[in-house]
């Protein structure tokens, strides 16, 4: 399949408040296939968000290239096409909602694309259905829960018909049920509508179902692979200040105690199966 995102030797340098040059990204290369579900982890300051912001041209490379659907992000005339292709959802739901009625908020993007009203209506209805918020369409966004607000933010992007959605810690401020709502929504969009997902998070359980996990540290990609490959590196991840799912760590500890279970257990069900096989 074609690569929707192509990052080649990306370098990003900015000036700190003390006028010192800081290199936030150090020659990163990454290709993401159309329809892939990629989770990016790494501690604060590792370069995750800086990389994500390059994908929809919020930041431009100091060196190297970023292509979205073959379009060079550094070329100014591509910016609108790129943002329509790759939409971004941020951490704080309250900072992303602009209108006083849910459906008007979702219409904001398509309106700015100059899409005819009839078509906007169709897209808004579709987007609402897609995130399961149709019944709330006439409500004021301030009456919604955090999880619902994030789903509205996602719907606003879906209404632009993007091929890719980049989510920068969308669940950081949510309670457990809000997190589940948002994760269910993006997993469904990926599976059923084939939308490419780049999901940045600190919650390792959200990475378990990804196609690929990318670990960033100090402006570099330090680890990359299927969740099973990445999370078995328990000691490396801990050294980087990251978590692994609780059951994966438990498996790791049981192995150290001499138990014969695989080190790549990611879910409760897998752990149960392997423990029962020992009986």
């Amino acid at each position: 399949m074609e690569n929707i995102i192509e990052i080649k030797d990306l370098v990003y340098v900015y000036k700190s408040e003390e006028n010192e040059k800081v290199t936030a990204l150090k020659k990163i290369s990454l290709s993401i296939r159309q329809g892939e579900f990629v989770v990016v982890i790494g501690h604060n300051g590792s370069g995750k968000s800086t990389m994500a912001k390059h994908i929809n041209a919020l930041l431009l490379p100091s060196g190297g290239k970023v292509y979205v659907s073959g379009l060079d992000t550094a070329d100014e005339k591509n910016v609108w096409d790129i943002r329509q292709t790759a939409g971004m959802v941020f951490q704080n739901p309250d900072n992303q909602i602009v209108a006083t009625v849910v459906e008007e908020d979702i219409a904001f993007g398509p309106e700015n694309l100059g899409i005819p009203p009839k078509e906007i209506r169709i897209r808004v209805d579709e987007a609402l259905r897609s995130v399961g918020m149709t019944e709330h369409r006439k409500k004021g966004p301030h009456l919604l829960s955090g999880g619902q607000k994030q789903r509205i933010a996602i719907a606003g992007i879906i209404a632009m018909r993007p091929k890719c959605i980049i989510l920068d810690e969308p669940t950081a401020m949510l309670d457990p049920s809000g997190r589940r709502e948002v994760m269910d929504t993006i997993q469904r969009l990926n599976r059923e509508e084939g939308i490419t997902i780049v999901h940045i998070t600190h919650f390792m359980d959200e990475a378990v179902n990804a196609d690929r996990v990318i670990v960033m540290e100090n402006g570099n990609i330090v680890l990359e692979g299927k969740p099973r490959e990445v999370f078995t590196q328990v000691d490396t991840l801990k050294k980087l200040g990251l978590d692994v799912p609780q059951v994966t760590e438990l498996a790791h500890q049981l192995i150290k105690s001499g138990l014969n279970v695989p080190g790549d257990i990611l879910t409760v069900d897998e752990m149960v199966i392997h423990l029962c096989q020992l009986l």
Partner: protein, 284 residues
């Protein structure tokens, strides 16, 4: 400092079409030196409740007794209450405003009219408590620091008031795992070393399970459940039905138990589960 809540009710926008009962006849007791975990989904009343603890909100009805003193009374000096009950809001770093870290942490004590020496002592101590190097950071602008460091500056500002009760509203939201562990370790330390009464609001069941003496579960403005973590996390169905969860380890043990395996299901941490699983398999 003990906190007793008697029949506390809070209604927002009473008598208007937007009338909302946020707290509904709550009765609670929190003992001196207790470490409480307050959980509940968004809108369950957690934030409304904690804002009553230092007089930011007045009850519609009911009482709040701090060491026996009703702080909802007319003659109570809220200034004194707020000195004893420190409240760290969500994203407290958004409230930093001074030019230097020192000035920001000193702001509260300064307003108490303390001497320069006492202020200096308190700022030094508070920064040490949150693990910030006084020498390295005191003259820097809070805005040059990392997110985790900024948050610690904000917490130090509250600690410099020497509160007897410390309330933290999701102090780890948005932090990475390392930043989260650092802050939680410091909170644990405050509780252990200074017997401070601590109320921790969190969405992380794993953190709550690991840290607190007692959990209070809020739902629809009521205290739906209270007890030691081991007790509370037994109520998996109830917690799930109100938008909460239990630690992943608890789910695991429960599943084994439901398959008829002779294991305890009320386990909360990786260490506990490891021991239990090893013992169970050795018995075989």
């Amino acid at each position: 400092m003990s906190i007793v809540i008697e029949d506390l009710t809070h209604v927002y926008n009473p008598g208007s079409p937007f009338e909302t009962v946020a707290l509904d006849h709550i009765n609670l007791e929190i003992g001196t030196g207790e470490f409480i975990g307050l959980i509940g989904h968004t809108g369950s009343g957690k934030s409304t409740l904690i804002q009553h603890f230092n007089g930011l909100l007045k009850p519609t009805s009911g009482k709040i007794l701090m060491n026996g003193l009703d702080i909802t009374g007319k003659d109570v000096k809220l200034r004194e209450v707020r000195q004893k009950v420190g409240l760290v809001f969500q994203y407290p770093e958004h409230q930093l405003f001074e030019e230097t870290v020192y000035k920001d942490v000193a702001f509260g004590p300064m307003n108490l009219g303390l001497s320069e020496e006492e202020i200096h002592r308190r700022v030094t101590e508070a920064m040490e408590l949150v693990g910030l190097s006084f020498a390295d950071v005191k003259d820097r602008s809070p805005f040059e620091l990392s997110g985790g460091q900024r948050r610690r500056v904000a917490i130090a500002g509250v600690l410099a008031m020497k509160p007897e009760v410390l309330i933290l509203d999701e102090p780890t939201a948005g932090l990475d795992p390392r930043g989260r562990d650092e802050i939680l370790d410091q909170i644990k330390n405050l509780h252990k070393k200074y017997q401070m009464t601590i109320i921790l609001v969190s969405h992380s069941m794993e953190d709550i399970a690991r840290l607190v003496d007692r959990i209070i579960v809020m739902h629809q403005g009521k205290a739906a459940l209270t007890g030691a973590p081991r007790e509370v996390f037994k109520h998996v169905e109830l917690l799930e039905s109100i938008g909460l969860a239990v630690p992943q380890i608890t789910y695991l043990m429960r599943k084994l138990k439901n398959l008829g395996q002779p294991v305890r299901e009320d386990l909360l941490t990786i260490e506990e589960a490891k021991q239990e699983i090893l013992n169970w398999l050795r018995r075989k």
